[in-house]
Amino acid sequence: MKKEIKICMSPYKIVYSVLFLLLFSLAMGVAVIPEIGRTIIPGAAILAFVFCAETRVMDQSGQRWEIFLLKPLSGRICTIYRRWLIQVLYLYVLFLVWYFVFFWQNPYPIRERPLETEYGYYAVALLGTILFWSLLTLVISNAAKSQWIGIGVSAVVWIITNSKTGEALFGRYNLFAYSASHPVKGKTADWIFGTMIQIAIAALFVLLIPWIEKRVSK
């Protein structure tokens, strides 16, 4: 596991992820505490799909693909899952912690929305976001044998869903239903379905990984 961490968590990735969050928290304003999570989620999606795109294809660009393909299929699949899990855990913890960085903006608390509750909702929505977007990019990158196609397709999906069009088309089933919901008046039912859909699709992607790995090695 220690070696997998060194492979998929290179120093430059850690640096750019922290820098991204730093710039994000400086650039995005929040007025009230419930806005924090809603502001972070679209950025979390971007970082997830960029961060995890090269999970498997790094061996392609790193000129290791020929020997990687010689390894037993089961070993390769376990490696992909391990690398993905390490990255997802890192991103999840990072974004959970980064929630509190936004407090430098002194957002107003809302009495009806206690911090513990808001943070809990954020943690659930974040989980769905990180799982979905990390796996979307991973699956597409693997199938296309290109991290840039993975990032590109994910970006297109992000643009469509993180827009007024996406809100109008998908409503509370939108992938970004949480960040689109009202910070003060919004109810859980306004966004939980979007998160559940993300988690369901993520589960499907997890099952697809072995099938794609088998196909690309033919």
């Binding site: 070696k3 060194k6 492979i7 290179s10 790193g62 000129q63 290791r64 020929e66 020997i67 990687f68 393909l69 010689l70 390894k71 037993p72 299929l73 089961s74 070993g75 390769r76 490696t79 033919k218």
Partner: protein, 293 residues
């Protein structure tokens, strides 16, 4: 273990035939695959490692036929050092080999013993804690070779393992391969004739996707007997004159002037002798356009 290749063709999407209906039998021992850049050597090796699927033909690894349902079995018997390999730069030498050993599902204790053995044999033991990115080109090639041999494969394929290395490194790698080839099959691809001469008794010469020659090194040398000539010339002008008429393969300045080596089917019309034929001479004779001889 022997490998039999029958009428194998590899065609890419742009209809370029990188390998064109080749037949080859690779017996036990170290077998050389010689050819210029772009001859099709790497493509053939990728077919043998199941990375590429041929358009036509059959390949047999002993009694196992190359087909998709057998690929996992075949891969377990193979070790491969590709022409370009960039192992994980952030890992140390030992970590890298342990990682690749884990991926190959070699038991930890066996893997550790093999890594210790090969690090010792390749002179990399003092460097085992260095990061891969800190190593020289020759050291990286040695690590690449170790990863190929770690699974104790019955069939080892090495694609231009000595390219860009200094003479000492090349000798070290060649000796490793010769030692490893005992009781196994090693396919050694290179465009450096000297490497083949030093290690192989059998070889194939490839050009533009086909084999120009397959057989023993001795037979290839015999093939060029009476075709290699050496003449002493007074200087550059005379050498240029010979170049216009004959196929010159080498020129060397001496105290008396210059000696030139020529390939010709008939004795050149200048005073000349027949030197001892090297594999390079024989290879160049084979590759020379017939109209120039």
């Amino acid at each position: 273990m022997s490998i039999v290749i029958k009428q194998v063709t590899v065609e890419f999407k742009n209809h370029v035939r990188a390998v064109d209906q080749v037949d080859l039998t690779i017996p036990r021992g170290i077998y050389g695959l010689l050819g210029e850049n772009g001859a099709g050597k790497t493509t053939l090796m990728r077919v043998l490692t199941t990375v590429l699927t041929p358009k036509e033909g059959e390949i047999w690894l002993d009694h196992i036929r190359y087909e998709p349902q057998q690929y996992e079995t075949i891969k377990r018997k193979l070790g491969y050092l590709p022409q370009e390999l960039n192992l994980y730069p952030g890992l140390s030498v030992r970590e890298c080999l342990e990682y690749l050993g884990e991926l190959s599902q070699i038991p930890k204790n066996i893997c550790k013993k093999r890594i210790d053995f090969y690090l010792e044999k390749t002179g990399l033991l003092p460097h085992q804690k260095k990061k891969m990115r800190q190593l020289s080109g020759g050291m990286k090639r040695r690590v690449g070779l170790i990863q190929a041999m770690l699974g104790e494969p019955e069939f080892l394929i090495v694609d231009e393992p000595t390219t860009g290395l200094d003479p000492e490194e090349r000798v070290r790698i060649r000796n490793l391969l010769v030692d490893f080839a005992k009781g196994r099959t090693v396919l050694f691809s290179t465009h450096v004739v000297e490497d083949i001469a030093a290690t192989c008794s059998n070889l194939a010469v490839m050009r533009k996707g086909t084999f120009l020659y397959t057989g023993t090194v001795q037979d290839l040398l015999n093939h060029a007997k009476g075709k290699i000539w050496m003449a002493a010339v007074s200087g550059e002008d005379e050498a240029r004159g010979l170049e216009a008429k004959y196929h010159i393969t080498s020129k060397q300045y001496t105290e008396e002037g210059m000696t030139v080596k020529m390939i010709s089917d008939t004795r050149p019309a200048v005073p000349c002798t027949q030197p001892q034929i090297t594999l390079e001479d024989a290879y160049l004779y084979l590759m020379a356009p017939k109209e120039t001889l």
